[in-house]
Symmetry: C2
Subunit: 331 residues, 2 copies
DNA sequence: CTGAAAGCGCTTACAG
DNA sequence: CTGAAAGCGCTTACAG
């Protein structure tokens, strides 16, 4: 709706129509901070409705220094794990009445930095960062600007900013123990290219849990790269009998590579994955995973923005038994 | 960076330090609209750097009526098809120097309306909407507010707002023809619960292409529901020999259901899917799809915001031959 | 080429 | 309980 002039309706228009001041209109639109007489309130509400008044949040933000917007920097928006995390962050923010600005760093430290700069320029009320590069403590820029920030899933452990992540140690131990219970002495591990971040941590815990008893495999984090690795290994008969994949994307690549090479899962190679994003329940065969509590993680990170405190205890990722490990699938 | 007082650095601070006016500082920060003497420009730039000045985009937005932010309303952020679309929209917007506010409607008309309201209140410069409910022309609210909008993938055909979508007619015809070429006389179709939006259109085109020669199946749009359908059909031996799935999510559910039921794909049931999101290349087996040109679609929708015109021609979704239809996979 | 000043649409002390 | 007015940090005619 707009005034006859075609100009958007402002507070002043409503005040004029209701025969009162802009202060009073503001008080009724915001339910405070001063009381308003019921009769006046009614007049204001009626005027606002008649004119189709929609408050300008930008003007409000400039004056009150609260934009109602929080920025989320994602390492990789195309990865369903991060996609699910983003969805949960949006929902947690909606619970606080906040809108979400989202930006994708595509694993580039430079883009990550650029996004944080732009979000701060946009005067976000807070920043959630799933670090693309944990060596660059971009949250420090937020702190300097007085903007609360939290890392989610991955972030520099040494910095001042809290890092919310699942209990990866426990998850890896569960995964290895479960494959052992299926009778596998050697449990291989499919790691990323380098051992950084939470995925690097998973690799270390696996080594501690298996001693010298398992093969270390590496591939990029995409389905395509894990798929290619398995096909290559299949050509020489070197595919392990049991495997823990560092991420769901890699596990899904293992499944498609094994399928293409004619290697049955779990018969020829048993697989357990460590993310547990929603997708993992509907692969062929269904993936046994340690299910990261994404909703809890997202909520913890968002809550940290509004009530600053130390990093909360890392929530556990329970083992979800499905078919890929060798368990019978429930019907 | 901030002033000694701990207050954020403003244009006025920079002007004071550079010994000039705020107008001139604004001219150099924005490279216009008035010329500035080179020497003055240097002084301003130096002062800004020394103080760590970061322009307040909110203040700029209030004055200039340009926020630099565009809103994206998504029908379902957890669906990789929409996730990939969102990623492309973000990238296209970055090309125009815009940030992206994102909101998830979860297929609810009410939430979709609420998000558009909030985005308009946030004074977005434009709105891209993948409609959750094409019966409710929410873009009309944007038009009233003078904000450009475009529908992407799904939107009301009758409205004033352009709808960008792929050429679904051609895609379905290609899919059916390809399965026919593999020797299947009967080509079934897995549709959604109701025939609305582009997916409903696909169903109609399939019927036109097959006449009475194929079975119509229906399930919800989630992997889980398609998975359950196939298991149910398998129990009675009613799984078709060849199937076109309306969406990737359903096709992936078909794959996992068939795997669980011991039905080989493509041997027992050949599958072609109509989305072609990135995921579809790494399923087991890899999905043959008609690959929607998501990047082109996203770019078209975004460009429409900045240079209004009629809906562009629907880009085609080429058939991508992989394993699930019965083709040999390239090594 | 530069500066003084108005104004974008709100919120909020302050005075009544 | 209500109103007149200052001010958030910018941009941009306007005058010089």
């Amino acid at each position: 709706m707009s005034t006859p002039a075609g100009r958007p309706v402002t507070l002043a228009d409503v005040a004029r129509r209701a025969g009162t001041s802009t202060a009073v209109v503001s008080y009724v639109m915001n339910d405070g901070p001063r009381p308003v007489a019921p009769a006046t309130r009614e007049r204001v509400l009626a005027a606002a409705a008649e004119l189709g008044y929609r408050p300008n949040r930008i003007a409000r933000a400039l004056r009150s220094r609260v934009t109602g917007v929080v920025g989320l920097v994602l390492a990789d928006a195309l990865n369903p794990y991060f996609g699910a995390l983003a969805r949960h962050v949006e929902r947690a923010l909606a619970g606080h009445g906040r809108l979400m600005l989202i930006g994708n760093a595509d694993y580039s430290a430079e883009r990550q930095r650029h996004l944080v700069e732009r979000f701060l320029a946009a005067q976000v009320d807070g920043l959630v960062i799933t670090a693309a590069d944990a060596d660059d403590d971009v949250a420090a820029m937020a702190r300097t600007a007085g903007v609360p920030a939290a890392y989610l899933h991955n972030g520099p452990a040494a910095g001042q900013t809290p890092v919310v992540a699942a209990d990866n140690e426990h998850a890896v131990e569960e995964a290895v123990a479960h494959l052992r219970a299926h009778g596998h002495r050697d449990v291989a591990f499919l790691a990323g290219p380098r051992d950084t971040g939470p995925v690097g941590r998973r690799r270390q815990v696996w080594r501690a849990a298996t001693g010298d008893g398992g093969t270390l495999l590496r591939s990029g984090y995409s389905r395509a790269e894990a798929d290619a690795l398995i096909r290559r290994l299949a050509a020489t008969g070197d595919v392990p009998r049991a495997l823990v994949a560092a991420t769901d994307e890699q596990a899904i690549g293992v499944l498609s590579g094994a399928c293409a090479a004619g290697l049955p899962v779990p018969g020829r190679v048993a697989v357990v994955s460590l993310d547990g994003s929603p997708d993992s329940a509907h692969t062929a065969p269904a993936l046994t995973v340690t299910g990261q509590p994404l909703e809890t993680m997202a909520r913890q990170a968002v809550d940290l923005l509004f009530t600053p405190s130390a990093s909360p205890a890392a929530p556990r990722a329970p083992l979800i038994r499905r078919r890929s490990c060798g368990c019978e699938e429930p019907r």
